[in-house]
């Protein structure tokens, strides 16, 4: 079988939904800018060589509708011969896109693919703007429509995670993210965005462009006392709060995937390969345990154990599900040691749904490079009751 490798992996900064740096900017616009930034970093690859552009998006409508994949391809100046596709597996969409690209290249069906994710939570509500659950169905068997917050509360309640556990986890995520930004760790992977905002100047409405280059969701300094004051919006007396849940975020992230042969021809130094990818189903009302079933599945495929993995990115949809999954896999010690989410997670940096898989890929590959890690895992839970996990081997 052919080998498929990732040559570069980049992301936009995460912008807080509604208030942050990308709140006014269209998602297709910053999606296009990230792809252009990616190509600019690999000038040896000619645009007409890109065979396909696969974008993950959890709510592909509005500006991310109309097959966002082809729209970004055209907008980024790729040639007419480049195709485009949008994939949706909710929160793993971005990772799924990279997995699909890898599989196609390995099969010999394609040579060079741009794959990633793009989401605006500023412009499109969770569930989309015209959600239509099946009449009667949800009440008797509402699983597919259960709100994510309820699933987080279910996990905390069913597996006895305390409020303090969750708040500590949330606090640590923010602390790590703050330190990482201060140390300039994300600079390498971030494509600064020419974002815009609408303002009123001298009585006239104007569009102002500005550079957005740093994740803007981190809340630091913060204290456990502050966090303890927050109330759960999901369940009366519940434990998942704005302080220990992922933020609603806008963002885009893409990776350049190509056959190892082509990379060699072009004299490109590959970063990593997505060696294994698995998706596993679980109970919809406990969808957050997803990583705890997906990680063993992908390890089994690879014939590896967690001890063979140097670095992990567990998407922090909620502290309850992330912490549960980490504990279930016996990895809590390694979390505090810094092998897991070393630079903070979605609680601090945001979770732009369909973009997240590609965003975490950019984060983990650059971190792995920095620390000379050999293998790493990106994993996340998925609404509706799934988990996804991918093993990257560094090259």
């Amino acid at each position: 079988m052919r080998d498929a490798v990732i040559v570069e992996s980049v992301r936009s900064p995460g912008g807080r939904a509604k208030r942050g740096g990308l709140a006014s900017t269209r998602a297709d616009e910053y999606g296009i800018q990230v792809v252009k930034g990616l190509l600019a970093r690999v000038p040896k690859v000619k645009p007409e060589e890109i065979d396909d552009l696969i974008v993950g998006c959890a709510f592909p409508e509005h500006e991310t509708g109309m097959n966002l994949g082809k729209i970004i391809a055209l907008g980024a100046g790729l040639s007419e011969s480049t195709s485009g596709m949008t994939v949706n597996r909710f929160c793993s969409s971005g990772l799924q896109a990279i997995a699909d690209a890898t599989a196609k290249i390995r099969a010999g069906w394609s040579d060079v693919i741009i794959a990633g994710g793009c989401e605006t939570m500023s412009h499109i509500p969770m569930g989309g703007s015209s959600m239509r659950p099946m009449p009667d169905y949800p009440w008797d068997k509402p699983y597919a429509y259960v709100s994510m917050g309820i699933t987080a509360e279910n996990i905390a309640a069913n597996y006895k995670l305390t409020r303090e556990d969750l708040d500590k986890f949330g606090l640590e995520s923010n602390r790590r993210a703050y330190e990482a930004i201060k140390a300039g760790k994300f600079k390498e992977e971030i494509i600064p965005i020419q974002a815009y905002k609408y303002k009123v100047k001298n009585g006239k409405r104007v569009r102002e462009t500005m550079v957005f280059d740093t994740d803007d969701g981190v809340r630091w300094p913060a204290t456990l006392e502050d966090m303890a004051k927050l109330k759960s919006p999901f369940r009366a007396g519940g434990s998942s709060t704005a302080g220990n849940s992922s933020q609603m975020t806008d963002g885009a992230a893409f990776a350049l995937v190509m056959s190892a042969d082509r990379a060699k021809e072009l004299d490109l130094k590959p970063l990593a390969r997505l060696a294994y990818y698995a998706i596993a189903g679980c109970k919809p009302e406990e969808m957050g345990i997803g990583p705890s079933v997906a990680v063993p599945k992908v390890l089994k495929l690879a014939g590896l154990k967690t001890t063979d993995i140097d670095l992990f990115e567990f998407n922090e949809a909620f502290a309850s599900q992330a912490l549960y999954s980490v504990r279930k896999l016996g990895l809590e010690e390694r979390y505090w040691k810094g092998d897991i989410n070393p630079n903070g997670g979605a609680i601090a940096l945001g979770h732009p749904l369909g973009c997240t898989g590609a965003k975490l890929t950019a984060q983990i590959l650059h971190e792995a490079k920095r620390r000379n890690a050999k293998r790493c895992i990106v994993t996340m839970c998925i609404g509706g009751g799934m988990g996804a996990a991918g093993i990257y081997e560094m090259l």
């Binding site: 009449p135 369940r235 009366a236």
Partner: protein, 805 residues
Amino acid sequence: MSYEIKKVAVLGAGVMGATIAAHLTNAGIECCLLDIIPFELTEADKKKGLTEKSPAWRNRFAENGLAGAIKSKPSAFYNKKNASMIKTGNFEDNLNMLADVDLVIEVVIENLKIKQDLFAKVEKIVRDTCIVTTNTSGIPIKDISAKFSPKLKERFLGMHFFNPPRYMKLLEIIPGEKTKKAVVDYMVKFCESVLGKGVVVCKDRPNFIGNRIGSFDMSNAAHVMFSKGLKIEELDAIISKPLGRPSSAVFGTIDLVGLDTGFHVSKNLYDAVPDDEMREYFKPNELIQKMIENKWLGNKAGQGYYKRTKDEKGKKIKLVLDYKKMEYVVPTKPKFESIEAAKKTEGGFADKLKVLFNGTDLAAEVAREYLCNNFIYAANRVPEISDTIIGIDNAMKWGYNHQLGPFETWDAVGVKEAVQVMKKLKLKVPKKIEDMLKAGHKSFYVKKKDGKYYYNFAKKGYVKLEENPKIILLPSLKERKKIVKSNPGATLTDIGDGVACLEFHTKMNAIEENLTIMLAESCDIVEKDFVGMVVANHATNFSVGANIFFVLDAAQKKQWDLIGKGIEALQNANMRMKYLAKPVVTAPAGMALGGGCEMAMHGARCQPHGETYIGLVEVGVGLIPAGGGVKELMVRCTEGIPGGAVEDGMNLQQIYVKVFQNIAMAKVSTSAAEGMELGYIRKTDGISLSRDQHIWDAKQVVLGLAKFYKKPRPAMIPVMGENFRGLIDAALYNMRQGNFVSDYDVHVSRKVAYIISGGDCAEGTWVSEQEILDLEKEAFISLLGEAKTHERIVHMLNTGKPLRN
């Protein structure tokens, strides 16, 4: 010269200034709100990068004042969006804003020099038609205007609002010696019709009328308490509801206002009225002095005469000050025989009061002494502070929420009877009262065939009360045989110019059979004999909804047919009103809940009073609106959709989710303006601020409509069909999982969702009004068969509060 107020400047952005500005916006008037520049730049300011040139710092006081008004509870604004009608600024940079205003209201600190200096600047900027006023409560108008040019003196007067300005009816207008009559007349009209206030024109005497009589009233109560050795809670149990006073009573009210404020008003008065025969009463007593030293200033300090706190179990409790020991204790629950006897007395408030006044226990003794002192003091103030008794009575009713003014109270207990008590108490009976009784005049007010008269001390006889043609009083029209038709539930009265008024008068204006019958009959009569109809009444509440006692009774007897017919009758009456060939204008005020809301929604137009609390609250008793409420809210929220939009795939989800939330969460507006936001009242309808002129306003709308009236075309409603049910089911599942709703809440909510969905149909279907009415009826009857709905109704009947079961 004629005046017209379109724009106002409020100078001083303290609590009063900012909330006066807020109320002006409630009346649709733009304002600027100015205050001084802060004294110095703080370290925190410097950290934020502010300098002495930053507008954010320079306008801080005005900005903070406005922010306080936005946050105030109860809300100063009808709709917080009104805040955008207020421009903030400061006295140094922005006085030029005054160049185009029509009215200036000065509300700065009570300091003569500061006021004079400010007005000197104001005089240079305002145009010569601008009316200039001060909201002072203690400084003579004469002194403030001493240095004014003669021209400005003609346009200057005192304009004294009571706190909170949105809610307190009293507004005192104090003309200066040189104020033009045209200015005074215009301002009275403006304050009444536009701001909705009750105006009392006062003389330029210390503390004017309200606070002069009010201060005495409070001091008098305290004196009686000390002399009789009563506890605070005992006095408050007597001088409150039993005497027609607000339930906050004497000391609760002082806590609310603030002891320091009360102290300053009294002290100011003591210094200003050296000849007042009761002057010593205004001298602050030892207790209040000690409390002020301790900073026990009332609610704002967390403690005053009362202290709200929590017991060991975390339960909220209210302690009272034991002023002998100066410590807070659990209040006793005083019970008085005479008060109990008064409560049980049949008849109106006057009858009950008489029983208490003539009682034999301590409470009666206190009431007698307190009231007689009040009577004498008020009588002695004519003509010193007011030429007539009416000014004093109105001031106390509108400014202090007394049910009756002192002279009306005196009438209630009997003028002669009270004088006998005074003599027994060795009080000095005013000569003018003795004269009045000697001349055979037995009361201060008398009703004659042509109207109401009051006793005028100067003329030593009765003078007819001036009637304001804009105040339509249904009882007085009834006396004049203007009743068209009446039954025990409602009355149709001819209010002139071809307009009839349908007035509800069941208990709390609850909707029951008689009322529905009368509505239907009124429609028939009006269509034939009138140009249109107003639906309004003078009660505190327009209507609190269906009489759930009858509904429960019928349900317990399983009289489903009867219930079905009752619903149909209400639906039909509402629909008849909506589609009448003559225009009907509903004029809700106070609460318009459930069935009351439905009726208010079914006129050709609605002309609500500003203080209208409207909503469909049926789910609180386990029911759904079945008189056309769901239907009409659906019509309201979709009627502006352009033709073809639904067919092109318009998403109705966000509209109907709001409709659903209104009903399923029993949302009630806190003002008519908010009722418009919720969709119960059309945004194109007018809002009346004057309760007195409310019916007149509604009548004018009828007359205007009547000129070219065509009844509306039957409405068709676009619905979301089964998809809406799916949407709400998913949302309800999550709310149930989150423990925010009970299983039965879900059950009732799903009924609401089914009605809104339009039944078993596809998204984008157009349904008729009748189809939705039928769904309402079906859901209503089905819920009445449920034990949990019965429990909710019983609980509401017993406690007045909704049950979550």
